[in-house]
Symmetry: C2
Subunit: 361 residues, 2 copies
């Protein structure tokens, strides 16, 4: 089959090795002669998978003592609700930084539980930058930020810290770079961008922040229940966890998050370099806030969009259409995407430049 | 590889055809030359999968107009919380029938939202029967029942109806027999027993019962939001939905729920027949309430348990250990299990009888 260069924003590209290992487990899981998806999650074979997944997260991110690693269902969207349910008492205020649609959704849910102080926002410029120079109210219950904004191609180059609990949605850049987990009280990520397939959500939570709100929390929404059950309070999403483990193992065997960061920076430099050089294109995100995961760019003449997309398709470049709220193009260059795929996109951009200058000549 | 007879209670056996088709989609999904788990859920290929899954549920169960079919995350356990969140206002009372651990968990969550009237229970005899002769208070917000009780091997032979909204947890017998959906206001099922792999939950809900409670509902817990989003309010669990569709198509191509019921009854008759005939064994559930999905039985002399389990293992009979609260053995004989596998278990029980009578002779 022809090689397809997969720039999908999410669910996104996974390491071929992770997919192949997962297929093997569907054929015969851990020597059981049964498929991974038709055995008990309480069997020793799957318990070993879950244990290894937790251990690999802890190893990749140097998770300190006192934190729990959970694999839950519902995506980041469920976390938008669980976070205030567990951490924001009625009458308390939480501080949120609004850097896009996903941050806004998190804000909306938090308002059902307490007060929300949006301490900074980049909505005035369609979220094409990361707000700076804001300060964190010391009496807020927590600060919530979104490390990378998939739609707009912005990313905190340096993650902020604060003297109150800091919670970070890392759905679209988890394991793309080293993170000092000790500076966060909670990190979470829907898996389907940089960590695995859709259907599982990683939560890394500092145990000591839990159990402080007065309200009763439904069992499935209570982090303490999931910690106590070791992510097995009820049947976990077996296959998504298995694929995530294969992806985490691939990260580890390819040098961990330090190597991922280097590799991602090389890919980003190559692509942003072409965007800045090629007179037909321009980037949409503020230069200093450019994401190394999602590269957003447009044609200066957007009447050429269809023509460039046709060329991309012809060259097996897939998933490049920009989000409707930004337009143009978005190349998601997650961990598993090779630099060869980025080069193929750069080649197409250069070919397009030649086609257009030829047409003008 | 040797044939393994898979009696796992859940996640349970799936049709080999469904597994094979799912592996094919992981290799190359719908001609995209990409894996099913690394493409956008908003692409036309996956939207077609979701549409077909909804249509197949409607077809298999003759779902009337006015009902929505949803594929959600979180398992039945999340439904235990979502149901009262959406349907039980503060001060209102809901009626629950307590037929086991899962019903109890549903009751526990409902109590966080309103009053619960447990109108019948079989807890007095470790849930080994289905309570009968109960009446439904006409002023209750809804009646909640559990159609099949996996742990205890009990099942409503005839599903009750009522003049108030009826909600049924069918996690362990969905699509095992025809159901008159019009008699229910909501049916739900965690997929991982009779419908698919872990990680997706089917909800069939009558639209007109929604939107009546006064409380604010977080987006991810609000059925109306999921209906409006067509199960795509956020990224759905792509792979679990795909496998579920393959399983539903297998049910359809094998005669639908009418044929499943006939086939399941034949398997159950064969196995219960042996349990009743074989002097070493006895069933644990009340005869009139025996489940055709989960067959629970014990050895009269439970000091022989390990020996029978060793014979079962030698004959590649897998997943037969009973739940700790019942003990003995449990054969889960879901739709996908063949009568040949049941026969293999019956053969082992007869062989065990010969071994024991030989030992005594």
């Amino acid at each position: 089959m022809p090689k397809v260069h997969n720039f999908s924003a999410g669910p996104g590209i996974l390491p071929q090795e992770a997919i192949d290992n997962s297929i093997a487990a569907l054929q015969n899981f851990a020597g059981t002669n049964l498929s991974l998806i038709e055995v008990s999650h309480r069997g020793k074979e799957f318990e070993a998978v879950l244990d290894e997944a937790v251990a690999t997260v802890k190893e990749l991110f140097n998770v300190p003592e006192g934190y729990s690693v959970l694999f839950l269902q519902g995506g980041a969207s469920m976390q938008f609700c669980m976070i205030p349910y567990n951490l924001l008492d009625e009458g308390q205020t939480a501080a949120y930084v609004n850097t896009g649609v996903w941050a806004k959704k998190a804000i909306k849910e938090a308002k059902l539980f307490g007060n929300v102080n949006v301490i900074a926002s980049s909505e005035d410029q369609n979220f094409n930058y990361i707000p700076k120079g804001w300060s964190v109210p010391s009496d807020a219950a927590y600060l919530h930020i979104t490390s990378n904004n998939t739609i707009y191609g912005t990313q905190y180059q340096e993650l902020p810290s604060a003297n109150i609990p800091v919670i970070c949605d890392m759905s679209s850049d988890i394991f793309s770079r080293p993170v000092d987990v000790s500076k966060f009280d909670m990190i979470y990520a829907g898996a389907q961008k940089n960590m695995g397939p859709a259907g599982v959500t990683l939560v890394i939570v500092k145990d000591s922040i839990l159990g402080k709100v007065k309200r009763a929390i439904p069992s499935m929404l209570d982090y303490r229940i999931h910690i106590e059950g070791g992510s097995m309070y009820n049947t976990p999403p077996v296959f998504p966890i298995y694929v995530s483990l294969q992806t985490l193992k691939w990260v580890k065997s390819n040098g961990g998050v330090v190597a991922m960061q280097k590799r991602n920076q090389e890919k980003a430099d190559l692509l942003y370099g072409e965007i800045d050089r090629n007179p037909l294109f321009k980037g949409t995100a503020a230069t200093e806030d450019r994401s190394v995961m999602n590269v957003t760019f447009v044609l200066n003449d957007d009447s050429l969009n269809d023509e460039f997309m046709a060329l991309a398709k012809q060259r097996n470049l897939s998933g490049l259409k920009g989000h409707r709220s930004v337009g143009g193009f978005r190349a998601s260059i997650y961990n598993a995407l090779s630099i060869e795929s980025v080069q193929a996109l750069v080649d197409a951009m250069q070919e397009f430049e030649r086609m257009k200058s030829g047409a003008q000549a």
